[in-house]
Subunit: 233 residues, 2 copies
C-alpha cells in the first residue's frame, strides 16, 4: 500500500504542471493582498514576470476564475475579484447549506477515520495559533478542518464545491485582517463541532455547525461593512 518504503523517502518529483505553479503563485499573491481587489491581471505582464509564456498564465487565470479569485471580462482580461459585503453574506449562507448537509451525512454514515483526523486538525489549529505563525497559516488550517468534514461525507461532490468556496472564504478572512482577537479562539470554536459529531445527535451537530458558521458570517460581514464604508468616505 505504501509507496516507496525502500531507499530514503523518494517522494514523487515535482511533476506539477507549469499551469499549477503559476496558479499557486497567483492565488497566493491575491490571498496575501499582494494583488489588490480590482487590479488588472495582465497576461503579458504576469508572463514576463514569471518567465513563462502567456498560454500557461491564461490557463492558470481561468483556473482561478472557477475558484472565484479572479473574474474575466471578454476582450478585457482578468481582474482580481472584489467582494461586496452582500456577496460575502451569500457566500457564508451557501457554506452553511453545504456543511449542514455534510454534517448530516457524517452523522448518518458514521464518522470512521474522520473523527481522528478532525481531532488532529484541532490540535494543529492550536499549534498554529502561536505568535510565530501568520494569519494565512491559521486560516488555511481552519479551512483544512472544514475540508476534512466534506471529505468524510462520502459524497465527493461536497468536497468539490467546498474547494471552490474555501478559497473565497480564505480571501474574505484575509481581507479583513483577522477574525478573532485571540488566535486560540479560532481553534476553540471548532471543538463543539467535533463534540457534537461524536455524540451522534444530528440536531445538536447541525446546531453546532450553524453556530460556528453563523459566528464567522457575522464577524466577517460586519468587519467588511466597516471597510466598505471607510472606502466610500
Amino acid at each position: 500500500m505504501d509507496q516507496q518504503n525502500d531507499s530514503d523517502g523518494f517522494r514523487p518529483i515535482d511533476r506539477e504542471g507549469l499551469v499549477q505553479r503559476v496558479a499557486r503563485r497567483l492565488s497566493k499573491a491575491i490571498v496575501t493582498g499582494q494583488l489588490a481587489p480590482g487590479a488588472r491581471l495582465s497576461e503579458s505582464v504576469v508572463a514576463r514576470q514569471l518567465g513563462v509564456s502567456r498560454a500557461p498564465v491564461r490557463e492558470a487565470a481561468r483556473l482561478l476564475e472557477t475558484t472565484g479569485l479572479v473574474t474575466y471580462e471578454p476582450n478585457r482580461g482578468f481582474f482580481v475579484r472584489g467582494f461586496t459585503s452582500r456577496e460575502l453574506d451569500d457566500l457564508y449562507e451557501f457554506r452553511l447549506v453545504i456543511e449542514t448537509a455534510v454534517i448530516r451525512r457524517l452523522i448518518r454514515n458514521g464518522l470512521g477515520e474522520t473523527e481522528a483526523r478532525l481531532a488532529a486538525q484541532i490540535d494543529e489549529l492550536h499549534r498554529v495559533a502561536g505568535p510565530d505563525f501568520d494569519m494565512l497559516t491559521q486560516v488555511e488550517a481552519d479551512m483544512q478542518f472544514h475540508r476534512l468534514l466534506c471529505a468524510g461525507s462520502g459524497n465527493p461532490r461536497y468536497l468539490a464545491v467546498f474547494e471552490q468556496i474555501a478559497v473565497e472564504t480564505e480571501l474574505s478572512i484575509m481581507l479583513i485582517g483577522q477574525l478573532y482577537d485571540d488566535p486560540q479562539r479560532l481553534a476553540e470554536t471548532h471543538v463543539p463541532i467535533l463534540d457534537a459529531l461524536r455524540s451522534g445527535d444530528e440536531a445538536r451537530a447541525v446546531e453546532a455547525i450553524s453556530y460556528h458558521i453563523g459566528e464567522a458570517r457575522t464577524l466577517v460581514t460586519e468587519q467588511f461593512r466597516k471597510l466598505e464604508s471607510d472606502r466610500t468616505e
Copy 2:
C-alpha cells in the same frame, strides 16, 4: 436612461466568442450521445474538424471540465466523462440539498416574478411534450424550470452551482434515453412544486421538491444500473 428609444430596437449584437461556440458544439455532441462516454477528445482532431486552432478548443474543453462533461488528465488530454450509478446517486443527492435550500429561500423571501416565470415554464414543458419534439428539448425545458427556481432564490451562488450540475443532470437523463413513459408526465411532476410554493407552506414545498428529485433520482439510477449490468455482461 433607456438606450436607443428611437429607431427600431437595436439590441446588442451576438458577440459570442469562438471559445463559447466550440464549447456549445462539444457539449451538444456529448449530450446527444454523438460522443460516447470515455471517448478521447483530441484537441488537434476537434480543431481540424471545426476549422479552428487548438487554443480555443483547449479553452472550451477546460470550460466543459468545470461543468463535468469532460475530464482532464495531465499530459493525456480530455475525455468524455463517464458516470457510475454511484456518481449519479451522489449528483441527485447534491441537487436535492441545493434545491431544498433554494425552495426555503424562495418561501422566505417571497416568489415575486418567479411565480409567473415558473408557471410559464410549466406551459412550455407541456408544449414540448408533443410528439414533434425530441428528448433533448424536453430535458432542457426541465432544467430551465429548476434554473428559474435557483435564479429566483436571490443568492446568485445557487444559480452558479446549478449551472454546473444541470449539464450533468441533462447528460444523465439523455444517457438512459427517457425518464417517463408518458412525456406529459415530466411536465405534470413540476406542478406540485409550484403549487406548494404558492401556498407559502415551507414544509410542504420542501416535501414537494424532495419528492420530485427523489423520483427522478430513483428512475435515473435504476435505469442506469440496468445499463451498467448490460455493459458488463
